[in-house]
């Protein structure tokens, strides 16, 4: 594997997609790029590009451009749209730089940014943005409608329009929103496929299956709409929609039998042990990392072969699938014609409309050398540190692996309940050139923090700041409040060395912020406790007012008390019978004694009258206390 060809991967993909745009004002092309990655992974990049002339778009005559999306864009006056659905993590330590420099991927969950025609007003773009997110939410079955004003920011330096907006550019406003909590799944893929002219029924889109796509280690679905004005065909501008799906599949995982998907450990004979470990023995094995790339076929990795071709007005040199493997590796392709180009590592295939296409590659003992992969422009990680429920701190580590300094734009969009202390913002290394900061307003606006930084060559920079966690209102907590709250990933744009347009993007993972969570049964407890106290007070007051207090012997005995006493006696009798003879005798004697002791007191009471009664034996006192009757 030559370094130069790998270096050219992102560039070649970009060129490929751009080159086909100008063929005809109404055009459609699709392309799949396959590249084996280290650690038995396979990177597949699907790209579907459709264009429509701007005149046809404005008069609402659609051919390859999806009508459902177009009418949303027209209604909300959106001129350029970027929508991303991402799950998983791209492992840039092992797989190298991100595909297409990270320009066609988003942060975990859903990310959306768009240039909206504001009409020179301040409130109009927000209304249109709100309509846009709500309509897209319905179209893609995603909770995009939760991108409200608290999750929307207006980045200054992070993004630049990709399309040609001509004189309109001044009136356009950029709005950006992220939903890190959103779980991307099949319900988002189905509407995505419906936008394609061939709808996943012919061509490479038949390979897109929710079971495999969302089982991938990393996947990102992207939709990019932009106007393109080419000089090639008389200068008529076209509106281009690029739909792309980029995924990194684990080959052994996706090759698993669909009817028996349970992973089973390999047999001990098949495991290669690392014998250099001191504990290696006949019963202890430290397995070696598997470096071989297993044999794979397209139909097994994606669940089925590609059916037919979506050949709509494509020229004879167009190809649908590119496989990038060393030229000496045997590849068996069926159902397609192989096109030869003067390239050593790429094989191009053109699908045929009537047959299904499959690729099969035998196992390869010496796969891609990880050292040969293109180094990412930057390594970025972000964590929440600190303890307790009141404060925390954010740590971002940015590592520049290159021999030249990097200039980058770092943006964070923080929820309002995470309140950063800006005076604690520290940059351990490197230089902060500019700072754009919009403070949060509770329940109205989130924090927008954008920094332009320079990081010296071969060095690591740490960006830290402290923050305070807000206490939310009772109803603002989600049902799974103890899970924590998602904090959107930070987006880093590494500016290209010579300045100007472009640059590559790196996103950190999303974070979980645990906020102080109340006991949710508290309101009910408060209600019960308060009610009890009030009822107690009322009851005592009411009784004091309406009852008169007399001595026990002044009233007839309550029939209830008689029943209770008889029941008690019966139980006592039973207990007495059960116990042994000696005990019974002694107990009887005790009882006799009690009787004799109490009898005189009773007699005395009768004669002395009630005034003296209170002073006599405890038994009577107890009785009297218990019986207070009106």
């Amino acid at each position: 594997m030559h370094l130069s060809t790998l270096l050219s991967l992102p560039a070649s993909l970009a060129l490929l997609t751009l080159a086909t745009v100008y063929a005809s004002p109404h055009s459609y092309t699709e392309h799949l790029h396959l590249l084996p990655l280290p650690q038995s992974h396979l990177h597949a990049h699907f790209n579907f590009t459709a264009t429509t002339p701007l005149s046809a778009y404005e008069s609402s005559h659609f051919r390859y451009f999806p009508r459902s999306l177009a009418q949303i864009l027209q209604h909300t006056r959106t001129k350029e749209l970027h929508l991303r659905f991402t799950t998983g993590r791209w492992d840039d330590e092992s797989w190298g730089a991100r595909p297409l420099d990270g320009t066609r991927e988003g942060g975990t969950g859903v990310e959306l940014w768009a240039w909206v025609d504001g009409g020179g007003s301040k409130t109009v773009p927000e209304e249109r943005w709100s309509e846009l997110v709500n309509s897209l939410s319905g179209l893609f079955c995603a909770s995009l409608n939760f991108i409200d004003s608290t999750k929307t920011v207006r980045p200054v330096r992070l993004f630049e329009p990709e399309g040609d907006h001509g004189s309109e550019k001044g009136g356009l406003q950029l709005l950006h929103g992220m939903l890190p909590h959103e779980v991307v799944c099949t319900e988002n893929l189905t509407p995505f496929l419906k936008l394609l002219p061939c709808k996943g029924k012919a061509g490479i889109s038949t390979l897109l299956d929710g079971h495999k796509l969302f089982d991938a280690t990393w996947q990102s679905m992207a939709i990019d709409v932009r106007p393109v004005c080419g000089a090639a065909d008389g200068g008529e501008c076209v509106l281009e929609i690029q739909q792309s799906v980029s995924m990194a599949l684990s080959i052994p995982r996706s090759m698993r039998d669909r009817h028996d998907p349970i992973p089973r450990p390999a047999k001990i004979e098949d495991v290669q042990c690392d014998e250099s470990k001191p504990w290696n023995g006949h019963d202890t094995c430290f397995p070696n990392a598997v470096t071989d790339e297993p044999a794979w076929t397209l139909s097994k990795v994606f669940g089925h072969a590609a059916k037919g071709a979506c050949d709509l007005e494509r020229n004879d040199q167009a190809f649908d699938v590119t496989l990038e493997v060393p030229s000496d590796r045997p590849v068996n392709a069926t159902g397609a014609s192989e096109l030869t180009f003067p390239s050593t590592t790429r094989r191009h295939y053109r699908l045929s409309a009537s047959s299904s296409f499959d690729l099969s590659l035998p196992a390869c003992p010496s796969p891609v050398n990880p050292m040969a992969l293109f180094t990412p422009p930057l390594y970025a990680t972000r964590q929440i540190a600190g303890h307790g429920q009141e404060r925390g701190s954010m740590h971002t580590t940015l590592r520049n692996p290159h021999a030249h300094p990097l200039t980058l734009v770092y943006m964070e969009s923080l929820p309002w309940y995470l309140r950063p202390y800006m005076h604690t913002l520290r940059l351990s290394n490197g230089k902060q050139e500019k700072l754009y900061y919009t403070p949060a307003l509770d329940r109205e606006r989130g924090t927008h923090l954008e920094l332009v930084l320079t990081i010296p060559a071969q060095s690591t920079t740490t960006l830290t700041y402290d923050f305070e966690k807000a206490v939310l209102r009772y109803t603002e907590y989600p049902p799974d409040a103890n899970r924590g709250f998602d904090v959107a990933p930070a987006v880093v744009r590494v500016l290209s060395e010579h300045g100007g347009f472009g640059g590559s993007y790196v996103r950190t993972t999303s974070l979980l912020l645990s906020l102080p969570t109340p006991d949710f049964s508290m309101p009910y407890n408060v209600i019960i406790l308060t009610s009890t106290v009030i009822a107690l007070g009322f009851g005592s007051l009411f009784n004091l007012l309406t009852r008169s207090f007399v001595l026990a012997e002044e009233v007839p005995p309550s029939p209830l008390a008689g029943i209770i006493r008889r029941a008690r006696d019966a139980v006592k009798g039973l207990l007495g019978k059960k116990t042994g003879g000696d005990e019974k005798e002694s107990k009887a004697a005790d009882a006799q004694a009690g009787e004799t002791a109490e009898a005189p007191s009773l007699a005395k009471e009768r004669t002395d009258g009630k005034a003296n009664g209170i002073a006599n034996g405890h038994a009577d006192l107890r009785e009297r206390k218990a019986r207070v009757v009106t």
Binding site: H61, C198, I528, S531
Partner: protein, 486 residues
């Protein structure tokens, strides 16, 4: 062991001696009764009515159904109508009476024999008959509209049209609800991958746009078109069956309602206000060509949704449909559009048909706005606790004033102004009814208040009730005793 407890016997002895509690002073008893009475008075006088009101709001199933009443005078006064122009021509050669309608303008040309001076009465009655013939359809439609409304009695000869009601009813159920604007989506669905383009721009400009501009007096229209490939017929139907004898695929009439594959075909309604009318041209997959309908025809209407048409191409390889290919398709679409909008079939003049639709629309909008207002009133009566925002009150005021304007304009024969007012009234009434803040309040959980109050009222109620019972029992017992003594 019962002997063990001597106190029970002791107290029994005591009770024998003293049958009752020591006598209390009369003042004491009265005071106690007054206290109990005072507590119960508070409960009965203040607590219960409040509680009752809550219960009522919750459990009352229906309030008094009284929508606002508006007087609508039917648009039948043709003597002042400026919308129809009667032209009288005399023809010496023919003594009979004929009339012709101008297809593009609301002009009726009546031809009859020479007029002699004594003919005035006859002429007037003849002209009246002509107008009646022309307007019979409209009369019947209005009678149908008013049939179930309280205004029925205001309409003079409603019963005369009952025979026409069935066909008119079918026309009404097929048509879209009146709306100020409609969105028209014309789609080409190909079963296979071809044809993938059509000259729709020219075709709509030629065949659809003139019709839409004629209909502008009723509603605004926006049009968009799309091409969709690989569109399979809905799996919900049995699907076309192959007739080996004729080498054709046949769709049964029962399959037509489920033909449109709502799950897979991207026919999302248009954004913004107004309903979406779908006009679909379906080109079957080459495998299923030719696809015909059992019993002939190649198009049908899905009521209140749109129209579908099947086009069998002579050649499998046609990838482009020219404007000329689309001419019959567009004419059918125009026809389907007319029926979907509820344009009456007669008289033969388009201008008169549209004018008639305009009047029918006005009436149905006025009726619908007033019934919406009535529903709003019933709602507010049913849910007494609902807070009504100022905007709703404002919308209701606007609705009422526009309804009055519409009625005035109708009686003056100013039908365009009447329709405009009726549209505003309908829009405002809908806005008032679907006010989001009110909709939210409907779901306010009143029941939770019970759950909150029960822990308080339960413990408080028990002593109150027990004391009352005891007091009443005491009272009754004492009275009996008194009787015995007396």
């Amino acid at each position: 062991m019962s002997k063990v407890d001597p106190s029970s016997e002791g107290t029994a002895d005591v009770s024998n001696e003293k049958a009752a509690t020591p006598p209390q002073s009369a003042a004491h008893t009265t005071r106690r009764r007054l206290i109990i009475f005072a507590f119960w008075a508070v409960v009965v006088a203040l607590g219960l009515p409040h509680w009752q009101a809550r219960l009522d709001a919750l459990l009352n199933v229906h309030g008094d159904a009284s929508p606002y009443h508006y007087k609508v005078s039917p648009a039948a006064d043709r003597s002042v109508s400026p919308t129809v122009l009667l032209q009288l021509e005399t023809d010496d050669s023919d003594s009979g009476l004929h009339y012709t309608l101008d297809p593009w303008s609301p002009t009726v040309t009546v031809t009859r024999g020479p007029i002699t001076p004594g003919d005035d009465d006859l002429l007037a009655s003849q002209l009246h008959q002509v107008m009646q013939q022309i307007m019979v359809d409209e009369h019947a439609s209005i009678a149908l509209l008013l049939r179930d409304s309280p205004l029925q009695t205001n309409f003079r000869d409603g019963s005369a049209f009952t025979s026409r009601f069935e066909s008119l009813q079918r026309r009404t159920t097929r048509a879209f609800k009146p709306a100020p604007s409609y969105h028209l989506t014309i789609s080409l669905f190909s079963g296979g991958s071809a044809p993938s383009s059509w000259d729709i721009k020219t075709a709509t400009e030629q065949y659809i746009s003139p019709l839409l501009s004629a209909l502008l007096s009723i509603s605004n229209f926006t049009v968009d078109t799309q091409v969709q490939l690989h569109a399979s017929i809905s799996p919900a139907i049995a699907g076309p069956t192959f007739e080996a004898a004729t080498n054709t695929w046949t769709l049964l009439a029962t399959d037509l309602s489920g033909f449109v594959n709502a799950v897979e075909w991207p026919l999302s309604p248009g954004i913004g206000s107004g309903s979406t009318i779908n006009l679909i041209l379906y080109v079957p997959h080459p495998r299923q060509m030719p696809l015909i309908l059992y019993g002939g025809g190649n198009s049908w209407i899905v009521p209140q949704w749109g129209g579908v048409q099947i086009l069998n191409l002579p050649s499998n390889t046609t990838s482009h449909l020219s404007a000329a290919d689309l001419e019959p398709v567009m004419l059918t679409f125009a026809d389907q559009l007319m029926s979907l909008l509820g344009v009456p079939d007669s008289p033969s003049s388009l201008a008169l048909r549209i004018a008639s639709l305009q009047r029918q629309r006005t009436i149905s909008l006025v009726l619908s706005a007033s019934s919406t207002l009535g529903a709003l009133v019933r709602l507010t009566r049913k849910l007494q606790s609902i807070a009504i925002p100022k905007t709703v009150a404002h919308s209701v005021d606007l609705t009422i004033s526009h309804l009055e304007q519409a009625c005035t304009a109708l009686s003056e024969g100013n039908y365009t102004a009447a329709l405009t007012s009726a549209k505003v009234a309908e829009a405002e009434a809908e806005k008032a009814f679907f006010e989001p803040s009110m909709v939210g309040q409907v779901y306010f959980p009143e029941e939770h208040k019970f759950a909150v109050y029960v822990p308080l009222l339960g413990p408080m109620g028990v002593p109150l009730v027990m004391t009352l019972i005891k007091e009443i029992r005491g009272l009754i017992g004492r009275r009996k005793g008194k009787v015995k003594v007396g």
